[in-house]
Structure formats: structure tokens, C-alpha cells
């Protein structure tokens, strides 16, 4: 057992600590020096970051962007959750299913879609509004602004936050609230003194969780921030590490990454403390009575409108804009006459591009190997983290698996870049595979831990007493019982791996490019029509994973 424990810890621990170490080392390496070049140590990078006025602006930008997105996103999500769990909104039980669609659509796609809709000069909505209002020139909408970024980011935050809060509110035993009512407390007192305090740890924990997620948000600030002249930490690190023309400034990027890591570790510490405490608040019971729904009355129309508007802005409008764009060789404003000139030439052009074949093949390799590797590693970590006889080893494994969550993606990407830059791995698809395996470890190990916990240890002991060795117990008992979790985790990683931009853009070269790279390259040279065609195809591939995942989750109630 202890050999297995040590191997698992090393396999999970060595890469993660090497990543961290590489970032730290690069903060003190002179420009151009190698990772293990000990001849010179310099603190110039820290100094230049500390003395540059730009640093303060960057910090303020990031703070404003994250704070506003978290606030707007939370307000929208709490409204959604309340409507689903406590009101009589018509068809409210369908909302969790509908939310799967916006959940699956990555930030980059709505950013592209909204550029097509609301760029000041040629945005479809702007054309339409200008015609309607008799205006000329540009505007009235401009997506290339701070508020444009905040709007799209908060819309993007809603689905994942909704799923977290929704399940927490649903799992809360309403008998606890009813006990309050029976004691004679009016509805608002029950909400104030029972529901809210009980939900507080869960709310605070999800707030911290999404704070980390917002700090690492990359695609929306990248697509919109360039024109809006609004940089945040994540995009700044990207431009330092992968500039178009200049030499890469790994040292300065590593200094920023170090700050983000410290922040991330601090937030993770609070998150883990809060979630540990919350176990005693969230009480899960087999049988729950449905709480009495609040009647919306004449507000029902407004509530339905709110849901529809959200779906329109987040899903329908950007998708229509992308689809429309992709179907014309030369861009045309939407009209019935234009429909006659619809063609698939953009798609044909993309598919004939030699880069497409390479990107497609790489994407397939990435998705399959990253998901498989991640699931294997996460499964073994989880099994050891639950079954290890030593409480300290269990805690250490759990913490190790959660560590990548506290490193923002851009930091992990920079770490992988500087660590593997001079190795033969660099330039191959395997750098991205390794990065993805570790990046999604926090989520999948949680999935497996909760599944292994449900396997009573006596099920394994009974197999040993039937005359089967440890390996046989894993093969015949543990593996079959974990099958739903394995499928769930595999599809989840696949769906995230295929739509990720951070790692491919940070680690991509001409050789190991994936579809995300091709899309970005096409987009920045303003071949909007072809970029739209790639986006539509990528979205199609994404749904190949998302739809089975959704049906699978529903069947197994994972």
C-alpha cells in the first residue's frame, strides 16, 4: 500500500511542483538565460514590475473587471436560482436542462459572436439600430469597452454558478426552514435567520471559487480587450510571453505569475476552510418536501422575459451572427435577398487549408489522450485519498489534487512553457496534453473522491475474502463500480479540453496547433467569415461531447 501511495504522490506532485519551481526560478533569471543557468541571479524583473506605473493600472483594471463581473454575475445567478427553487415560474424545472447550452459555449465564442453583433462600425445590431434611429457613422453600441467585457463575462459566469448554487439550495433540508415557521417565525425571519445563515458558507465558498475563475478568464479580455485597450493580468502575461514581434519577456511574466499564484493559494486556502465548515450546514436527506413556491403574479411576465433575454443575449444572438457570417463569402447585412447568395465556400476554404488537417488531428489527439490520462491519474489519486489508512496521507493527496485549481490557467500555461521550452517536448502536442491532464485534476479528482466514498469498504473486503488479490479487487470491483464516474469525468475533460484557448495559445507552434490556434490566427488577420466557419465547426464538435455527457449525467444523477 505505501509504495502505491508514494508513487501516486510523486506522479502527481513532481510535475505540479516543477511547474511552480520553474515560474519562481524564471523571476530571478536574466533575460535570455536558461532555466538551470546558475551563473547569474537578478532581481531586475521584480524591480521593473515594482517601478513600472503600468503595474498599478493593470492591478486596478483586473480588480475592476473581476469585481464588476462577479457582482453582475452573482445578481443574475441568484435571480435564476430563486426563480427555479422558490417561485412558480412556468416550466421552471426545465431551466437546469436549458442551462446546459450556455454552460457548454465557451467565452471565446460569445466574444466573437458579439464582436460581429456590436462592433461599432459593422456590428449587425449597430447597422440595424442605425437604420431604425436614422443615425449615421458608428455606434450606438460598442462591445470593445470595459462594460462590454463585464457584460459578456458575467453572462458567461451564470451557468456554472447556477449549477453550484442550485444544487446547494436544493439539498438544503426544507424541514429546517419549516421548523422555524412552526416556532412562529414569519417568512422573512425564516429567510433572514435560518436560510441565509445556513447558506452563508456555501455562498462565500462559491464566491471565492468563481473569483479564482474570473482572475484566470482569458478569452474575453483577449478578444475584446485588445481593441478596448484594456489589459488584465491574464492577457498581460500572454502578451509578455508570446509577443507578436518583440523578444518574449519570461522574467517579467513570471513575476506577475508569482503574484497570481500567491493570490490563488490564499483564495484556495479560504475556499477549503469554508467548504470543510459547510459540511455541517448543508444537510442532505433522502426525502425532502418541496418548499411552497412563492406566487409571482403579474411579475411572471417580467420573469419569463428575463430568462428569454438571457438566452437571447448569451446563446441565440451570437450564434445567429456567427452562422450568418460563415455562410457568405463576402459579408452582407442580414436580409431576405441576401439568403439567395448563401454558400458553404468559407467552410470549403477552411477544410482545404493544410493547417486544418494538422489542427484537427492534433485536437483529436489532445482530447483523447488528455481526457484518458487525466481520468487515470484522478481515479488513482481519489482511490488512494479515500482508502489510505493514514489521515495525513489522505489530506496530502486531496490537497495535491486541488492545487492546480489555485494556479490560474495562465500561470500553469506559463509554467509549462518555461519548464519545457528547451526540451524536445516543446512544439509537440504533448506539452498541451500534459498541461491539460494537470489543469483539470482538481475537478475530476473531486468527482472520483465522491464516487469512491460511496463504495463501502466492505465491498472491497468481501472480494479479498473471496480469494482475490488487491489488483483483482481493483479490476473486478472498484473499476466496474466507478464506470459512471469515469465516463462523466472523461466527457467533462474532453469538452473542456476541446474549447480551451489559454494553453494552445500559450504553448502552440505551427507543429502542435489545435483548432483553437487556427481560429485565433484566422481571427486576428480579420478573416472574419472563415473564423466564423471554424467557430461553427468547433461548436459542432464540442456538442458531440456535451450532449452525451448531459444525457449520461441525467441517467446516473451524477
Amino acid at each position: 500500500m505505501w509504495i502505491f501511495r508514494v508513487v501516486i504522490m510523486l506522479v502527481a506532485g513532481i510535475p505540479i511542483f516543477s511547474f511552480l519551481g520553474a515560474v519562481l526560478l524564471y523571476t530571478v533569471r536574466p533575460v535570455g538565460a536558461l532555466l538551470f543557468d546558475w551563473s547569474a541571479i537578478t532581481f531586475d524583473h521584480y524591480l521593473s514590475v515594482a517601478t513600472d506605473e503600468y503595474t498599478l493600472g493593470l492591478a486596478v483594471n483586473t480588480f475592476l473587471y473581476v469585481a464588476a463581473s462577479l457582482t453582475v454575475g452573482s445578481i443574475l445567478t441568484v435571480t435564476f436560482t430563486w426563480l427555479v427553487q422558490r417561485s412558480d415560474l412556468p416550466y421552471r424545472h426545465l431551466i437546469p436542462s436549458i442551462m446546459i447550452i450556455p454552460l457548454a459555449i465557451p467565452g471565446a465564442f460569445i466574444a466573437f459572436g458579439w464582436v460581429l453583433l456590436a462592433s461599432p462600425r459593422t456590428g449587425l445590431l449597430n447597422l440595424w439600430l442605425r437604420g431604425l434611429l436614422g443615425m449615421s457613422g458608428t455606434g450606438p453600441l460598442d462591445i470593445y469597452t470595459y462594460w462590454g467585457m463585464v457584460l459578456l463575462t458575467s453572462l458567461n459566469l451564470v451557468p456554472s454558478m447556477f449549477f453550484m448554487l442550485n444544487s446547494q439550495l436544493r439539498n438544503m433540508d426544507s424541514a429546517l426552514e419549516e421548523a422555524g415557521s412552526v416556532c412562529g417565525a414569519p417568512v422573512h425571519s425564516v429567510a433572514r435567520y435560518i436560510t441565509l445563515p445556513m447558506m452563508t458558507p456555501a455562498l462565500a465558498a462559491s464566491g471565492i471559487y468563481f473569483l479564482i475563475q474570473l482572475i484566470e478568464t482569458f478569452e474575453i479580455p483577449l478578444v475584446l480587450g485588445l481593441n478596448a485597450n484594456f489589459r488584465v493580468f491574464s492577457t498581460h502575461i500572454f502578451f509578455l510571453a508570446r509577443p507578436d514581434l518583440d523578444e518574449p519577456q519570461y522574467g517579467v511574466a513570471a513575476v506577475f505569475a508569482t503574484f497570481l499564484t500567491i493570490g490563488g493559494l490564499g483564495l484556495t486556502y479560504f475556499y477549503m476552510r469554508l467548504t470543510r465548515a459547510s459540511y455541517k450546514y448543508i444537510t442532505i436527506r433522502g426525502q425532502r418536501s418541496a418548499p411552497h413556491p412563492v406566487r409571482l403574479g403579474r411579475w411572471k411576465v417580467a420573469a419569463v422575459g428575463f430568462v428569454c433575454l438571457y438566452l437571447a443575449v448569451k446563446v441565440v444572438l451570437p450564434f445567429i451572427a456567427l452562422l450568418w457570417m460563415s455562410l457568405f463569402e463576402i459579408w452582407r447585412p442580414p436580409s431576405l435577398e441576401a439568403l439567395g447568395q448563401v454558400s458553404l465556400k468559407n467552410y470549403a476554404y477552411v477544410l482545404q487549408d493544410p493547417r486544418w488537417g494538422r489542427a484537427f488531428a492534433n485536437t483529436v489527439i489532445l482530447v483523447v489522450t488528455a481526457s484518458t490520462g487525466n481520468v487515470l491519474l484522478a481515479g488513482l489519486i481519489a482511490w488512494a485519498a479515500v482508502r489510505d489508512p493514514s489521515a495525513r496521507a489522505r489530506w496530502l493527496l486531496d490537497w495535491l489534487a486541488f492545487l492546480p485549481r489555485s494556479l490560474p490557467n495562465i500561470v500553469m500555461a506559463l509554467a509549462v512553457l518555461v519548464l519545457l521550452l528547451r526540451t524536445p517536448l516543446y512544439g509537440t502536442i504533448w506539452v498541451i496534453v500534459i498541461a491539460h491532464i494537470f489543469n483539470y485534476l482538481a475537478y475530476t479528482s473531486r468527482v472520483f473522491i465522491s464516487s469512491v466514498i460511496q463504495i463501502h469498504p466492505e465491498l472491497e473486503e468481501a472480494a479479498r475474502l473471496s480469494g482475490v488479490r488487491r489488483a483483482g479487487v481493483l479490476r473486478w470491483i472498484v473499476l466496474p463500480l466507478l464506470r459512471p464516474a469515469i465516463l462523466n469525468a472523461w466527457l467533462w475533460v474532453a469538452a473542456h479540453s476541446i474549447r480551451d484557448f489559454t494553453y494552445p495559445l500559450m504553448l502552440g507552434t505551427m507543429q502542435n496547433m489545435v483548432i483553437a490556434n487556427l481560429l485565433w490566427q484566422t481571427w486576428i488577420i480579420v478573416q472574419m467569415e472563415r473564423a466564423a466557419a471554424i467557430t461553427v465547426m468547433l461548436m459542432g464538435m464540442l456538442f458531440l461531447f456535451v450532449i452525451p455527457h448531459y444525457y449520461f449525467m441525467r441517467r446516473h444523477r451524477v
Binding site: H456, E458, L459, E461, L465, S466, G467, G472, W476, P480
Partner: protein, 375 residues
Amino acid sequence: MIRVEQLHKTFQLDKGGVRAVQGVGFTVNEGEFFTLLGPSGSGKSTILRCLAGLEHPDQGEIIIGSQHVFSSRTKHTVPPEERPIGMVFQSYAIWPHMNVFENVAFPLKRGTKHGQKRLSEGQIAEAVAEALKKVNLAGMEYRPATQLSGGQQQRVALARALAHRPAVLLLDEPLSNLDAKLREEMREELRELTKSLNITSVYVTHDQVEALALSDRIAVLMEGALVAEGLPFELYLHPRDKRVADFLGAANVLEGKILKVEPNGEGVMQTGVGTLHFSSDSPAAAWSAQGKVAALVRPEAIICAAEKPGSAENIFLGTIQRVTFQGSVFNILLRINDATLRVFCDVYNSTLLPSAGQKVYVCIPREHVNVVGAS
């Protein structure tokens, strides 16, 4: 068949605190039904898990049949998959991804306990059918495990444990998750089955009724130590320890002083209810030497009557403080002088209709008074 010597096992609980087994030893004869009885935390399950090989003792020797399966002297341990045992778990541990047949066939298909040679499909099917017949589940082979009732899961677990014909059967509180009626039924079936197979069984329970009904011999454990061992009848009627008497059923404990002991074991002691005659089969001299002793009297051994009974000794007049009607008996709490006494008065064999405040006579037959040290 089984010999356990000087077994020690200490471990830290997750919640803090320590649980320990301290130097437990016993032997179980071939074909015997042996029960480890004790409250939760007494270490009984730990001992069973050490026998199974699921727990590694800190110290001790375990011999099963001719095999020395654990020895701290020679640092030798046989893993659970190689010990000649079958086990039934408290949770039943029925694998939910297999049906009844696959569950019972698993030890024959994947295990090696039935011998080294691989069995043919036909042999396996035959062995499974036989095992299921023993537990009255014939014809249920293809029922999914998740669609079984608690009692059926229990039977499948038993069939699985017996499938490879082990020399020893270990049972870890197997009846505790069943409802009362079913538990009684299963208890009788289990006794019949183990006796008809003549298999050596070690049974762990905290339920004294179960232990008394099932066992050939009982070992009582308290706080990791073996405090009494014997036939069920003997342990119940003549407990040698206050805690054992208390654990095996209700008992009145009357503390007092020995006044006089005859060499034949008959004597008189002073207690809270008055002077009490007793006849003890224990070495009488030991009692007179001890200052303080206690008399243990089972509530059902006391006779209760409205009129003064004929016999002359151990008659006391008391006032009823509380009466609880329990179906077969009245559970009466009496005040006699300075002491309280609990009496179970048989509903059918009594002319008494007790009520609170009533004065009644009680008689404590001297042969039902057990004298033990009052430590």
C-alpha cells in the same frame, strides 16, 4: 480449530481518541458456534477483522486450522485472500453491479480459495445452485443485486461466504440491519444452517438476546478485554461480574456486607433491602474475606405476591413506585427500606394487578442470589 493468543491492536480513530484490544485470547473448537459479545467500542469487530486478515494486529498469534495465519513472533502474516474463511459483513457488501448468480459465483470464478484448479462453467453453476439452495434462494440467480430486500441480501451474502466451502465462517453483526421479526427468523435459520454444515463460526454482536439464542459459547468483551467466557446458560444465570450480568440482561445489584458464610457456601449478607440469605457455589471463604460484596438478582427471578408467602427467608415488604405493562410481564419498580428493586412479574402466573402506591410482598429465592465482589 481457531486459536487466538495475546492479541493486541491499538489504533487512532479519525475523530480522535484511541481504540484498543488488549491481550485477548480464546479458542474455538471445530464445528462450534462462538460469539464475541460486547457493547460498541469493545473491540469485538476488530478481533474479527484480525481473524479475517483485514486488520493487522500489533502483537499476538492467530492459528486457523493447521495454518498459522498471523504471528508477531515470526513476523508472518497470511493475506485475507489466502485464509480458509468466508465472511458475512454488516452491510452485506453485495456487489451492486452483479446479479445474484455473479455475486455467489465470484469466489469460485476469480478467487483461489476453492483450490488452485479452475472450475468449469458447469461446476460453478452447480456450486452456486447448491449454495443458493442452502439459504433458500433457489431460482433467484438472475435477480439484479439492487432489487433484493434486506433479508435476501443477507442470504446472498451468506451463500457467497459459503460458496467456496470455507473451514471457518465469520459473521460481523449480520442481523443488525434487519427488522425485528425478520431478525428472529434469520437467527433460527442461521443456527440450523451452521449446525447442519458443521462449520466453525465466529459471530460478532452487541445484542445479548441474539448471542444467547445462537451460540454454543459466548465471550463477553468490554473495553478491549475479555471479561467472561462460557455457555450462554451459565453466563446468564451465574454471572461472575457485575458488568457482565448487566450486559446480558436486566439485573438488580444489591451492595452490602457478608455477615456469615458456612463451609458449604450458604450464608447471610446485609443489603439495602435487609438481610439476604444466599447459597453460593463459589469458594465461600473468599467472600468472608472481602469486605464489600454485591448480590446480583435477575428481576424475573423474584416472586411478587399480595399476601405474605409461606416460606420464611428472604421475604420483604415493599411499596410499588412505578408499574410498566410490557405485554408478557409487569415491569415493577419497588421501594424496600433504603433500596429499589426491579421485579418482572409474569402476567399470566400472577393473581396480582399491581398499581403504584400498593404494598406487596416479594420473595427472593436464595439459589437465585449471585454474590460477586463489589469492585
